[in-house]
Amino acid sequence: MTNEVDEICQLPGNITDQILSCLPIKDAVRTSILSRKWRYKWCSIPQLVFDDQCTKARGVPSFQPSLQENLVNIIYRVLLLHTGPIQKFKLSHKDFCATSDIDDWILHLSRVSIKEIVLDIWKGQNYKIPSSLFNCQYLIHLELYKCLVKIPSMFEGFHNLESLDLQHVQLSLDGLKALISHCPLLKRLKLRNLEGIKQINVDTGNLEWLDVEGAFQDVTFGFMNRLKSIRVDFSDDIANECGLGNANSSNLHKFFRNLPQIQSVELENYSLKTPPNELCHLKYLFTCIDFSRVEEILTVMCLIRSSPQLKHVDFQNRAKDQQTTRIGTMADFWEDHLACCLEQIQVVSMGGILGNEPELELMKFLLTSSPNLQKMTIQPNSTSGEGKLLRELLRFRRASAQAEVIFL
């Protein structure tokens, strides 16, 4: 007995929209041929994603000039046939160079209550964002890669924007300030490699998630009492060089002392020098550290002890070469801390390990003081001296019977 009923068509419209949204756009449009009921079902899908999959023809490779034309035509056709509001528009095709057609598309999107725009320009020159983008008042998420942004003077802000992601974007310092300060609901901010900006000043009280990367010379963060996660990568190694201004360092240190809600901290090319206040919610820490510097180890130890929920710690070695350090001072240091019990630590990772004394002392300390440790992963910097490192590791006592020590 055959079932004559089209199973999917029985489902409500919002569900078929969701199912079709899970498909690459090509497959979604192909469903138009299934039956009369299916012909225009794809036209109301809330998400439009145009990427490499759109121009992949079965078997026949697409040639460069026609690929550009093809994609432009595809996007125009889809936008023309589409009905209703569009929630998300993403253009991220590795072989597509920006053209002025994008201006038309953004103008159209500003009229259909667009909530999310992702624009990645992989080839050719940076794309100059048209002013119509700034009229998309319903935008919740904006992501730009290799674009040029000029904030119009009449810009009133994105009153619904919660998430902003700018990478390799050209904009002025004033532009960045104007953009951030006019987004009252901003919760997530990612700024990576902003061309032309050497200083950064982020002062938005509602931020919950922050990711900043670049060769900055001056960094100021305001008070962020809602911040749950932070990642910083100062490629120029700024705060560790005394010459580049202690003022910057003290701003940053003040900032790190005042993060009451923080759960995850990732510091690349930056080490904390002064211990922060109690961090009762911190669950994950990633930090670059010079194992031979007592004050850095002390700071991290203080941090670990003031974080009762800290489960996962990740250390990345900052020192590039083998340094013979004063073993004497290190041994004293560890003796003072022997009575420590780090109940909360469950996972430890250590990267760029050279196999010298301070590193081994830290490993030994962590293994003997963490009764709940489940996994310790060690990644050596090079294969030389591996044997010795392994032998030492095997000798160390472990406080936790479940601890797995993994050597990568």
């Binding site: 969701q18 199912i19 090509k26 041929i33 299934l34 039956s35 035509n73 046939l81 109940e343 909360q344």
Partner: protein, 160 residues
């Protein structure tokens, strides 16, 4: 007292709520697990969940599985990998059951289950020819050859 457990104190019994399916079966679910359903969450907030909650659109067979899903996803400290594997198992069911999951997740507003089940259906369609999709989902094509020709022209790029 071990510090690695969650913050609930052991002396407090787990709060349960009762759900009643369309065919009269009742199921108990922990309140914490039930919070994954936006519908149930608002009922709990408004204190309407103390008596068995009637769910006239969901049969006992499906409701049992939905409760199982929510309970599994409310577990603390679950490994992401094993949860993914569990989810994949969960949606390896026949089409009618899968669609029932979708309808139940839609009604109870459980976004994670809805996404999982919809993605599962989409995966069955992805990369297949129209004929194959016809067979899988029992769809009857009602187009004449001329209509089909016109359709292929309308969205030619998708059929290349």
């Amino acid at each position: 007292m071990s510090s690695s457990s969650s913050s609930s104190s052991p002396s407090c019994p787990k709060k349960m709520i009762t759900l009643k399916s369309s065919d009269g079966e009742t199921f108990e679910i922990e309140e914490i697990a039930a919070l994954q359903s936006k519908t149930l969450e608002s009922m709990i907030d408004e204190n309407c969940a103390s008596t068995p909650v009637p769910l006239p659109n969901i049969t006992g067979k499906i409701l049992a599985k939905v409760v199982e899903y929510c309970t599994k996803h409310a577990e603390v400290g679950a490994d992401a990998e094993s949860l993914r594997a569990w989810d994949a198992e969960f949606v390896s069911v026949d089409h009618p059951t899968l669609f029932d999951y979708i309808l139940a997740a839609n009604f109870l507003e459980i976004p994670t289950l809805l996404n999982l089940a919809c993605q599962s259906v989409a995966d069955m369609v992805k990369g297949k020819t129209p004929d194959e999709i016809h067979k899988i989902f029992n769809i009857k094509s009602t187009f004449t050859p001329e209509e089909e020709e016109e359709l292929r022209r309308e969205n030619q790029w998708a059929f290349d």
